[in-house]
Symmetry: C2
Subunit: 204 residues, 2 copies
């Protein structure tokens, strides 16, 4: 029985993967825990330790082949294929997310848009038409979507989250500035710019 992988380790892998993409873009074929650590502000020992939870990806004396380590991290994070994502809430932020080109190369594609506002329903953003939130369960189930982004006002977020859960969504990226109540096994990540700002001001 293998030891469980700490959450905090999983949390760093996307950062490693992102930096490896930059190295690849720069044409660097091989890197080391020291180089990666220096670029990310993380200790080399930590990077090696983190990776060692999943296997042996480097060569002594040489380091890590960038393309191979990318492949392995994509596999571990399960972004070696594209996840279809539902976006609920097409206000200013939702629109910005819908237009954002940075999802596709990194394992995600927004494939469905939902909003409650009757004036928005039927509007198109790029290839996608905005549907009523009432249609969430039907669309999500039909298309096999299990990842959702919530970009609705705080007041609507608990109801929208419930709808997502009922529809079978298992991972939520929540932009509403509230803590969601979800059952065991459902994953939630939070993005609230104000809490991020407030984490810094104490030190100023």
């Amino acid at each position: 029985m293998s030891k469980p992988i700490p959450d905090i380790v999983i949390g760093r892998l996307p950062i490693y993967l992102r930096e490896l993409s930059f190295l690849a873009d720069e044409g660097v074929p091989v890197t080391s825990s020291h180089e990666l650590g220096k670029r990310l502000g993380i200790s080399a020992a930590q990077i090696r330790k983190d990776l060692s939870h999943f296997g042996e990806f480097g060569k002594q004396g040489t380091g890590y082949k960038v393309s191979y380590l990318q492949e392995q991290l994509r596999r571990i994070l399960k972004v070696d294929h594209e996840w279809p994502v539902a976006l609920v809430g097409v206000g200013d932020l939702g629109r910005a997310l819908a237009h954002y080109a940075g999802f596709v190369n990194r394992g995600f594609r927004i494939v469905a848009l939902f909003d409650d506002d009757p004036n928005k329903i039927g509007q198109r953003i790029g290839d996608l038409e905005i549907s009523s939130t009432d249609r969430l369960a039907a669309v999500v189930q039909e298309r096999g979507i299990i990842v959702a982004m919530i970009a609705v006002p705080a007041a609507s977020a608990p109801r929208v989250a419930e709808a997502c859960l009922a529809a079978g969504i298992r991972a939520i990226l929540n932009y509403a500035p509230i803590t969601l109540k979800v059952p065991e096994g459902v994953l939630v990540q939070y993005i609230d710019p104000v809490t991020h700002l407030q984490r810094m001001t104490h030190y100023l």
Copy 2:
């Protein structure tokens, strides 16, 4: 000599403060570490321990007066006044941030917009006019701004961050999907939706 406050504790205080606002909105005058913990999915012991770093804010047998604990957390986080914030990058995301009404009640106000695009310079968003990024240092210094949000493409972010540092910015909320190099003493928080999504997919 008092023990230093762990960063991780500071990181939780904004969440406590946010939840206290909801309790206040609900008209709850007094809460407890258990109630707060239950709502946030955090242990009561941890909340008490976190708060104990800063003083004694509760009453045995009773709990914490919501309004008083809010005041204290605002003071500790230094959001008992409003920080003027510079926003650099007025693309889709920057526009969404510029329109977002949620900053003001929580200690922040965007007071200056910057972009490199000559077509955008001079345009207005609400009360604010978009200035050339060349004017960053002048405006930031004139208005005493030390907090900035960066919402430019990844390729522009290092240069923009340098400009912020040169202008005297000391805390950066970075939406560009790259790790910034900043000197000791400058604070950075990162928001990259893709890394947040990638933290969840491993478990799916």
